[in-house]
């Protein structure tokens, strides 16, 4: 490892612009003649749109246009799509209602747009939107999944009778029933996985610019995957063919999944910019984010786990109702199915699993991937079940896990996933040592003497990352391949540009990706630039989500680097009159092994471009590209243990210690990896203690601002004690598993297990607010 190579704690190259206020986010961009959009949004959860009167708005000075849902339908802009086809257990395809970018006839959630005002300034657009009169006929609405599937419930879409999108199953029902029939003990649990609002700090924004002469659009947008956005906008929404649409995602202020999707606002901005003949900018405010950014989680689950007399798990049965909101968002269908139920084996040897997932429409904001996407729901369920089982079977929770750990690899679970490697005992050991698990009983007794209830909670998570092998996901219904692309461009002076289809919105790719180049070539990272986020620069890419950028994106860069190095070695060998096989790369030089003959990398680059003395038949230039498609998912895993105290008088939880022992395979930059874990842990803790996107029974959102939705703040959370154990991922040459989602996947169960341990009652829903904890303590 060099000072800037793989494994080095290199400070981030991108930081200078962010700490000096020179970041360039979408809302920072101004175009000549730019107009501003403000959407007219439904205040009702379910209503017919009887008419829209824009006449007063159009009279206001500075108002350019008022455009409605009917117009966007008339112009044949496509309905929003869901890109992953799920088949119900009866063989029928999932049942989807149409989702137009603005509603022409019916609104189905509060915040759905019915019209847009385009004006010379943002304030004018907002004022004029107030003057647009919409005649709504209110319809009965339903927000809760159980209410939505009852007979007589308000119906959202005629295409989906009973509000059911699908009823999907996985696993072997017969084998699972047989395991339960023979079980020595059965543990049952009902859990709700609370709905969350992602709340990246930068609200979504878009600027669309139509060039009539070239019939060409440029879209600046807050996207985690600009190429996917271009593909969907072109292929499905009829905005423009791909070569006439450039999508730029500049600095993006956090995503957490919510900026994967192509939203109505981008579609409308593009369409409107052509209609009004001027650039159109839309910047969401925080309330719009709460109303329209895809939410996360929102499962209601009943699960049962069967054990034999030796406390070995013999079977698992799960039934989950997943709330999808009012429409099927881009990848929503895959989240409670292939990203959830395929992880229900956890870290454990479970011979038989059967899971059924019912997807349900409600009059709420659409739900889709949010940090972890399905895997937090699976991990939370399994780790709450293990804790419940330990209490019921009266065994130590860590010991029960150890009894059931998978210890040989590869391991085929009964739910598709084949775990390639891991050492679950090692991460459990590391976490138990870090928190002094053995000394907990003494600490609990001391806390009790001080009037506090102390608890400890273990969570052993596993996730499937490195998303994803294209053939495998294609066979499961995905509409896209999930490879990544990269290009290495060496300039004639030897500086290097790495073009990647990954997108950084906080992950630090501009640093970590350079570290790979530094490792291989021995050049300083200052000589390397990372180019991303612009469809005119990078040919194609699938973007950043699912902890895929290092495992998949960086591997694509490695593949392109290998091709470039191979050519460079030929050039060096030719220049040094040596055999290509004798050339080694060290400290920025190409050397003939075992001699003092060497040529510096910039001279190799220059030779490639002057082309005065290249091997016969070699093309000039030094530029290579690669597409990398993984052969399997990767399986980051680890143990989190939380120790906390509950004040029985107030129900308030205080952290004592929180340890995380993760196995992410090889780490490129441990400092950045730790930052990813910290952030993920706080999102998991936020779900456990604070966050809940709440609707009333009529579909009115109750939490649509930071005044109402409890975001984790600095004084809500502790500092963390992190460590790593390592098994290298055999599926990619760098041995990387991915680290982006682990914290959010594993943390919430550790917290709830600890609180329920402290208060001595097992049933406690998230978020465990002081009020809820106090009521649970004092419930009969």
């Amino acid at each position: 490892m060099g000072v800037e190579g793989i494994g080095a704690r290199v400070v981030r190259k991108e930081d200078k612009r962010f700490i000096t206020g020179k970041g360039r986010y979408v809302d920072d961009i101004k175009l000549q003649g730019m107009t501003h959009a403000h959407f007219v949004r439904s205040p009702h959860a379910h209503a017919k749109v009887k008419g829209i009167d824009s006449s007063e708005a159009l009279k206001m000075p500075g108002v350019v246009a008022v455009l409605t849902g009917q117009q966007i339908v008339d112009d044949k802009v496509g309905n929003l799509i869901c890109g992953w086809a799920i088949t119900s257990k009866d063989g029928s395809p999932m049942k989807m209602g149409a989702w137009p970018a603005m509603a022409p006839e019916t609104v189905r959630f509060v915040g759905q747009a019915v019209a847009v005002v385009i004006a010379d300034s943002k304030n004018l657009a907002r004022d004029a939107a107030e003057a647009v009169v919409v005649d709504y006929e209110e319809l009965p609405a339903v927000a809760d999944v159980h209410a939505a599937i009852k007979s007589g419930a308000p119906q959202l879409h005629p295409e989906a009778p009973g509000n059911q999108v699908y009823d999907w199953v996985i696993g072997d029902e017969g084998a699972t029933d047989a395991a339960f029939a023979k079980a020595a003990n059965v543990v049952k649990l009902d859990v709700t996985n609370n709905r969350l609002a992602p709340n990246a700090m930068e609200p979504r924004a878009a600027i669309a610019d139509y060039d009539a002469a070239e019939e060409h659009f440029t879209l600046y947008t807050t996207s985690q995957n600009p190429h996917v956005a271009r593909l969907v906008l072109s292929a499905f929404y009829n905005i423009a063919p791909e070569h006439k649409l450039r999508v730029i995602a500049p600095d993006v202020g956090g995503g957490f999944g919510s900026k994967i999707f192509i939203y109505p606002e981008e579609m409308v901005a593009l369409w409107a910019s052509k209609k009004v003949g001027r650039p159109v900018k839309w910047t969401g405010d925080r309330t719009e984010a709460f109303l329209t950014d895809a939410h996360g989680r929102d499962h209601v689950t009943h699960a049962e786990m069967a054990f034999d007399a030796n406390n070995k798990i013999t079977g698992l049965k799960v039934k989950t109702y997943a709330n999808f909101g009012a429409y099927m968002s881009l990848f929503s269908s895959s989240v409670p199915t292939y990203l959830y139920a395929t992880l229900l084996s956890g870290q454990y040897n479970i011979p038989a699993i059967h899971a059924e997932v019912v997807g349900v429409y409600t009059n709420t904001t659409p739900v889709d991937a949010y940090r972890g996407a399905g895997r937090p729901e699976a991990s939370y369920l399994i780790e709450r079940l293990m804790e419940t089982a330990a209490r019921q079977l009266k065994v130590d929770p860590a010991a029960l896990r150890r009894t059931n750990f998978i210890t040989t690899f590869p391991h085929q679970t009964p739910v598709i996933m084949a775990y390639d490697t891991g050492d679950f005992n090692a991460s459990l050991d590391a976490a138990m040592k870090a928190i002094d698990y053995a000394g907990f009983a003494g600490r609990k007794a001391k806390a009790k003497a001080d009037g506090k209830l102390r608890g400890i909670g273990v969570s052993c998570y596993i996730e499937a990352c490195g998303i994803a092998p294209s053939k495998a996901v294609g066979s499961l219904g995905a509409g896209v391949g999930l490879w990544e692309s990269a290009e290495v461009r060496v300039n004639p002076v030897g500086t290097i540009e790495i073009l990647t289809g990954s997108h950084s919105h906080g992950q630090g790719h501009e640093t970590t990706f350079c570290q790979l180049v530094a490792e291989r070539l021995g050049v300083p990272i200052s000589q390397v630039s990372i180019v991303h986020g612009d469809t005119d620069k990078v040919q194609f890419g699938m973007g950043t989500y699912g902890s895929r950028s290092a495992a998949v994106g960086l591997t694509a860069i490695l593949k392109a680097m290998e091709k470039m190095e191979s050519k460079a070695k030929k050039i060096a060998a030719h220049a040094l009159e040596a055999s290509e096989g004798d050339i080694v790369i060290e400290n920025g030089e190409f050397k003939v092994a075992g001699t003092d003959k060497a040529i510096a990398f910039p001279m190799v680059a220059l030779a490639a471009y002057t082309a005065h003395n290249l091997p016969d038949g070699m093309e000039p230039g030094l530029k290579e590209s690669a597409f990398y498609d993984p052969t399997n998912f990767t399986f980051p895993a680890g143990t989190y243990i939380c120790e906390l105290e509950v004040d029985p008088g107030t129900g308030k939880t205080s952290f004592v210690n929180f340890v995380a022992a993760d196995d992410f395979g090889r780490l490129i930059n441990p400092m950045i990896v730790e930052g990813q874990v910290h952030g993920g842990l706080v999102q998991g803790i936020g779900q456990a203690l604070l966050e809940h996107a709440i609707y009333d029974a009529n579909g009115q959102p109750v939490t649509a601002s930071f005044m109402d939705y409890a975001m984790p703040r600095a004084d809500d959370v502790p500092s963390f004690n992190l460590s790593h154990t390592t098994t290298l991922c055999p599926g990619n040459p760098l041995g990387i598993k991915g680290c982006g989602e682990a914290g959010a996947i594993g943390a919430s169960a550790a917290v709830i297990n600890a609180i329920t341990d402290a208060i001595g009652k097992n049933n406690l829903e998230m978020p465990a607010t002081p009020d809820r904890v106090w009521r649970t303590i004092h419930a009969a």
Partner: protein
């Protein structure tokens, strides 16, 4: 419309704005100082924090007109040329930022926290004082480290002046 006269990052400016214009929009839209961000509409997130007459304020929560005659410092105004403010350097060195969106407000709040607490700063105080700045990326761990680190650096740099 009104003319607001103020000093921004040491430079005197006069800006004609609609009376309802917020200070943050004067900075972003009229002066192109886009380092100051808007992350909410309820004064909760702190992405918009700037200094007015040496104190941290949320620039989304005051009218531009209320800054008439004041001296405002934004994230763009705290480095001395190429020399970063110690708080900026500490955020970089401690990996106290990821997406960077909350960072300007965090740094401006943090400088004010150090000014007010000086040597008395500890982790609990920093966490309590950062209550008005929301970060979704870092989990605050490294932000807290950065602020405590910067408190030491600021003491050294003050002693040197």
């Amino acid at each position: 419309m009104s003319t607001v006269k103020l000093t921004v990052n040491g430079k005197a400016v006069a800006v004609d704005v609609e009376d309802r214009t917020l200070l943050v929009h004067l900075l972003r839209d009229h002066l192109n100082l886009t380092g100051t961000h808007v992350g909410c509409d309820t004064s909760q997130c702190g992405a918009c924090v700037v200094h007015m007459d040496g104190k941290a304020v949320k620039s989304c929560t005051m009218l531009a007109g209320q800054a008439d005659g004041a001296s405002v410092t934004t994230i763009e105004g705290i480095a001395k040329g190429d020399e970063l403010h110690p708080m900026q350097a500490a955020f970089r060195d401690n990996h106290g930022l990821q997406c960077g969106y909350c960072t300007p407000g965090m740094i401006m709040s943090a400088i004010d926290i150090v000014h007010r607490h000086g040597d008395q700063l500890d982790e609990t105080t920093v966490r309590h004082e950062l209550e008005g700045n929301i970060c979704r990326c870092t989990g605050y761990h490294n932000i807290v480290k950065a602020v405590l680190d910067a408190a030491g650096r600021m003491k050294v740099s003050q002693a040197a002046e």
